[in-house]
């Protein structure tokens, strides 16, 4: 019962993200865009490259969708509305999201094409940059909550949300989440101008529809994870809890989609240099500061 509700909400969220993304990139707000483009994709011919690595080519989009949905199973939208309340929920989100990398590698290597391959391996370079920047802020959040349960993490933000308690961690997690979902300006794998579509280039028809669906689900899962970890989940003054969750997730999604219009695409070397030389020391400083705050404030 909870599973169907959450999956329906996920589908609704994916629809919203698609409408928002089309609105932000083209300026026109049309509610029918996702449905029409989805039907068009399903109706198109599925072109298969000449000598693909068959297993990888087929499995990659499905794995992308699966990993995003698995990560969404431990996110609480309301007290009691969670698919599985795993005792190691905060770590499980990260474990499920790593399979996005495996899916992108398969999608890059599978079609036996140059642009796709470059896009796939570039995503590995991006992962080396953002992987620590996701785990370390989560560690700081878990330190405050003293538990890995996602519901406990939300409850621990009762007086003061984590965005005010650990602002440095929030900034780093936000940037790393954008890099994980390969949103602009971190969209190296599917660089639209540079790599002719990169990883998405060789997919068409049903597989492209599943790939894009997986990507949209990933965006909304990451937005929900940000809300749970840093923005206090369902907490808020006078609206019901589910309304607060929805509003916050929507706000974070819009911010993630809009932030890409501010900067040009960051190159591989720059991303690695900034994340390892500046990001990781800041993340460690964040853990240190949160440790002091947790011990000092009763």
């Amino acid at each position: 019962m909870t599973t169907t509700i959450i999956l329906l909400l996920l589908v609704f969220g994916v629809y919203l993200v698609a409408v928002l993304e089309a609105w932000i990139s083209s300026g026109r707000f049309r509610l029918t865009t996702p449905i029409l483009s989805g039907i068009a994709l399903l109706g198109r011919e599925s072109i298969v490259p000449r000598k693909p690595d068959r297993i990888f080519f087929e499995v990659a989009p499905v794995l992308l969708l699966l990993s995003a949905v698995l990560a969404a199973t431990v996110i609480p939208l309301m007290p009691g509305l969670i698919i599985t309340d795993l005792a190691t929920g905060a770590l499980f989100i990260n474990a499920a999201l790593v399979y996005v990398l495996v899916a992108m590698l398969m999608a890059g290597w599978g079609p036996d094409g140059a642009y796709a391959m470059v896009g796939g391996w570039r995503f590995l370079g991006q992962l080396i940059a953002y992987a620590m920047l996701i785990v370390m802020p989560i560690t700081a959040v878990v330190m405050r909550a003293e538990s890995l349960l996602t519901t406990q993490i939300v409850v621990s933000q009762d007086g003061l949300w984590n965005i005010f308690y650990q602002p440095l961690g929030f900034v780093l997690f936000f940037i790393a989440a954008m890099a994980l979902a390969f949103l602009p300006p971190f969209d190296l794998p599917t660089a639209t101008g540079e790599l002719a579509g990169g990883v998405e280039a060789e997919y068409s028809g049903v597989r492209l529809a599943v790939f894009r669906l997986g990507r949209l689900t990933l965006i909304i899962t990451l937005a929900s994870a940000t809300v749970v970890f840093y923005l206090g989940g369902w907490q808020g003054p006078w609206l019901p809890p589910w309304a607060w969750s929805g509003i916050k997730i929507l706000a974070v999604t819009v911010t993630m989609l809009l932030a890409g219009r501010l900067m040009p695409r960051i190159s591989e070397t720059d991303l690695l240099a900034w994340c390892w030389k500046l990001g990781i020391p800041l993340a460690l400083l964040n853990i240190f500061l949160v440790g002091i705050l947790v011990l000092v404030i009763p």
């Binding site: 000598k51 190691t88 770590l91 990260n94 790593v98 495996v102 590698l105 349960l149």
Partner: protein, 182 residues
């Protein structure tokens, strides 16, 4: 045949099958990703044995590590796509014999030793995590600190071994030109 027994057997079989597939396939990237799925099946096996933290950690770490192994294979090996079916194996019969002998020895030890009373109830996952944390920073603090310093040392060692030496410029002469001084 309880559900737990079924899941352990299923994931164990999957892990061994993917492990054998690592060495039977000609494509190098398939080999690396087969190892990745073998380790994931092991992580799922840990989860079904109710070692939740270890299972999640195994799944998370091994995906990253094996992907890095995949890119190293593409960098260093001759035929990463596997389209030419060349068999790069030496001392085949010896290694097959060694593998089978070690498997039989380990199974023999597992079957014929009396392991003592078996407890079927495991503690709650949240309790396990708390107990593991307390153990880590309590009794096993020295082990963990040593592991931390070992990781740091090995990171610095690996980087210093792998880094490309900076090309020394030739000594500039008084006239300011970079002629090679013999």
């Amino acid at each position: 045949m309880t559900a737990q027994m079924f899941f352990i057997a299923f994931f164990g079989l999957a892990a061994v099958w993917f492990g054998i597939a690592v060495f039977r396939t000609y494509s190098m990237v398939r080999s690396a990703l087969a190892l990745l799925f073998s380790q994931t099946a092991l992580g799922a096996m840990f989860l079904s044995m109710q070692a939740e933290f270890l299972g999640v950690l195994q799944i998370m770490m091994m995906a990253t590590e094996m992907s890095i192994m995949a890119i190293f294979m593409v960098m260093f090996m001759m035929d990463p796509g596997g389209l030419s079916t060349m068999d790069m194996i030496h001392q085949k019969r010896l290694s097959l014999l060694a593998g089978i002998v070690s498997f039989l020895a380990a199974v023999g030890v597992a079957v014929f030793v009396d392991w003592g009373p078996v407890e079927m109830i495991a503690p709650d996952p949240a309790q396990q995590t708390i107990a593991l944390g307390l153990e880590l920073l309590g009794r096993s603090m020295l082990i963990f600190e040593t592991a931390g310093i070992t990781i740091l040392t090995s990171m610095i060692a690996a980087i210093s071994v792998a880094i490309q030496p900076v090309k020394q410029n030739t000594v500039p002469t008084i006239t300011g030109s970079n002629h090679h001084e013999h």
